[in-house]
Amino acid sequence: MSFTSTKKKPKKATFHVDEKELLCKNGCGFYGNVAWQGLCSKCWREATLRQREAQIKSDEKLARQIHEKEEALAWGNRGQRPHAAPNSSTPDDVSGQMGGGFDRFEEKKRQKIQASSRAKQVKSMLSKSIISPNRGETPAQTQPHPNVQRQLSTESREASVRFSDYLKRLSKPMADDLSKSCREFGEKILTVREKISIDEVVEKVQDFYVDITGRIYTHHIYRGLTATQQATIIDNIEKYLMTLHYRELFSPMDTDDEQKDLAIQNRIRKLRWVTADMLGADLEEGNLLVSQLIVKAQTELIEMNAKKAPIDKLGCIVRSSKIIFQILQTSQDAPASADDFLPILIYLILKANPPQLHSNTQFITRFSNPSRLQTGEAGYYFTTLCCAITFVENLDATSLSLSQEEYSDYMSGKIQPPQTVEPICEGLHMMYNNISALEDLRVRQERLMKNAREFSDEMEAWKQRVSSQVEEAITSKPLIKKRYSKQPVNLDHDFGEETKGLPVPMEPQKVN
């Protein structure tokens, strides 16, 4: 019996596992798992959480200790104030102790520099251990809500707020209907986005636009709206949805948008040397107004990347284009045509190098309301922008009317184009303008002086000529003074009949 039992026992041990061994070691009554060190899932999670918290605490403690040591080291080196408050800043302390005379001040300054450099060294050595507990904190804080909804960016939240504000202004059934269809559609996009390609998403979005447009035109709750109101509703829906799902839809991971962005960016960077003249653009870059407008138009192009909704991005393109027409207006009276417009737009793109150009144009093409792109003004400017980008991508020697050699020399940086005055900032630009104005004034001043001198010389010569002529005249016709012979006149001469009627001349009378 004892033999059999001993014979059986090892057999039992290999094949039979006691129920007690399967249960959670914590004794909570649930089954445990070897992978969780014999604990059940719940206890295991609690244990690891506790462990992690403890780890964080010890890390924090360690970090604090290191920090204190480091402080102590820094202050200890100065031989004073071993218990310095960790937050008091050193410059204040130095000024506080400055009363001790110049020598002491100098010495302290030296010490302080040494200490701070040493502290820096220590800090950089320990930076890893200091940073890690901070990092550990974030997951610990978010741990209680592992299934929290995806974080909305500030813009998305603002867009939601703005959209709900907008809906409040509409009548109740309309607002409810719109928000319902938008919410449904947004959820649908989010759930299927992982599984389907961007082209299918585009199709879904465009179909949604068509559906919602049709609904607004035909459904009875929207009856009584004007065409403009309907258009604004559609615009607002587009704005809201696209801003909300911008992160998923802009430059998506399953396309090569990002590579293309980089490619075009590098391409533009390589083409920095292209001047407006080479493109056949009529630009007076020296003109202050023109250069200001150029900067403004460039800013608009760059701004495009910061806007979220396609309609807002298009707005940037339209504004930029309008500024280009203002630029053209400075040099010509007639309305500008595409012949003038396109070269300048290309030039601006080369100068501005707007970020994520390809992604932005793709985003607009994919998710803008198609009617806007097809016939509207924004569509025209957007198309022209696409043309400009294509031109930049395919640019070669012939498109700049350069020879192949010149082109490759420019590309390799062997030669530089004749640099026009490149305004780096407004002040510098004004300085250039002032310098040229002063130069102009100086030239004019010199010319004036020269002319004045010439004039005075001329006057001198004239004076001499006149005087010599006078002299000559005088010498050729000398003044001959003739003797003036005075003939005595007899006043009392009898004039005969003429004086007959006159009274007799008065005779002086002697008065006593």
Partner: protein, 213 residues
């Protein structure tokens, strides 16, 4: 959007070499002015004109294109999804007419017969300096299925008529975008099919038409 709900929207591209007078032509049509200092618009690259044809409201968006040789390759981006094209040449400049032929070939290749074509021989006020023969131009237009017009922006001749006829053609061909987004996707999908025109036979025909020169 607002306009599309109440009528038809058409996109018309304007193609032509640099100095053939595209800008003058369209400004004469939209503003009825020629070389005028008091033109209200800053630009002539994108203009709208509203028409009423047989009780139907029609909105034409006229897209100017850059005509310089260096931008020639960009043409397809401009005339994508357009309903009509006006090809302008200068009757005193034979080169500009051969450019028109190039564009026609391209348009046919890209858009097939979905686009209504107009060929405008501009500057007929300079009839005395004409180098492009009327018969040649008209024969060519007929051969490619385009309508030919003799225009002058300076004298305001033929322009109104050309745009009106083009609008009627576009209405008839029914490629109008009546409801904004509605028909767009289908029309853009349709235009993806490429019709290939046999260039050689077209050339031979042109040669036959203009055999005298």
């Amino acid at each position: 959007m607002a306009a599309s709900s109440s009528g038809a929207n058409f996109k018309v591209v304007l193609l032509g070499e640099g100095c053939v007078g595209k800008t003058s032509l369209v400004l004469r049509y939209v503003e009825n002015k020629f070389n005028d200092k008091h033109i209200s618009t800053l630009q002539a690259s994108f203009l709208n004109k509203k028409l009423n044809i047989g009780g139907k409201r029609v909105n034409i968006a006229i897209w100017d294109t850059a005509g310089q040789e260096r931008f020639h390759a960009l043409g397809p981006i401009y005339y994508r999804d357009s309903n009509g094209a006006i090809l302008v040449y200068d009757i005193t400049d034979e080169d500009s007419f051969s450019k028109v032929k190039n564009w026609v070939k391209e348009l046919k290749k890209m858009l097939g017969n979905e686009i209504c074509l107009c060929i405008a021989g501009n500057k007929i006020d300079l009839e005395k300096q004409r180098t492009v023969a009327v018969a040649d131009a008209e024969a060519y237009a007929q051969q490619v299925g385009a309508k030919h017009y003799h225009t002058s922006a300076k004298l305001n001749k033929g322009i109104e008529e050309m745009f009106l006829e083009l609008s009627k053609d576009m209405l008839e061909s029914g490629s109008a975008d009546f409801l904004g987004g509605g028909s767009t996707s289908s029309s853009s999908r349709k235009s993806k099919t490429v019709t290939i025109v046999d260039d050689d036979s077209a050339n031979q025909n042109t040669g036959g038409g203009g055999g005298c020169c």
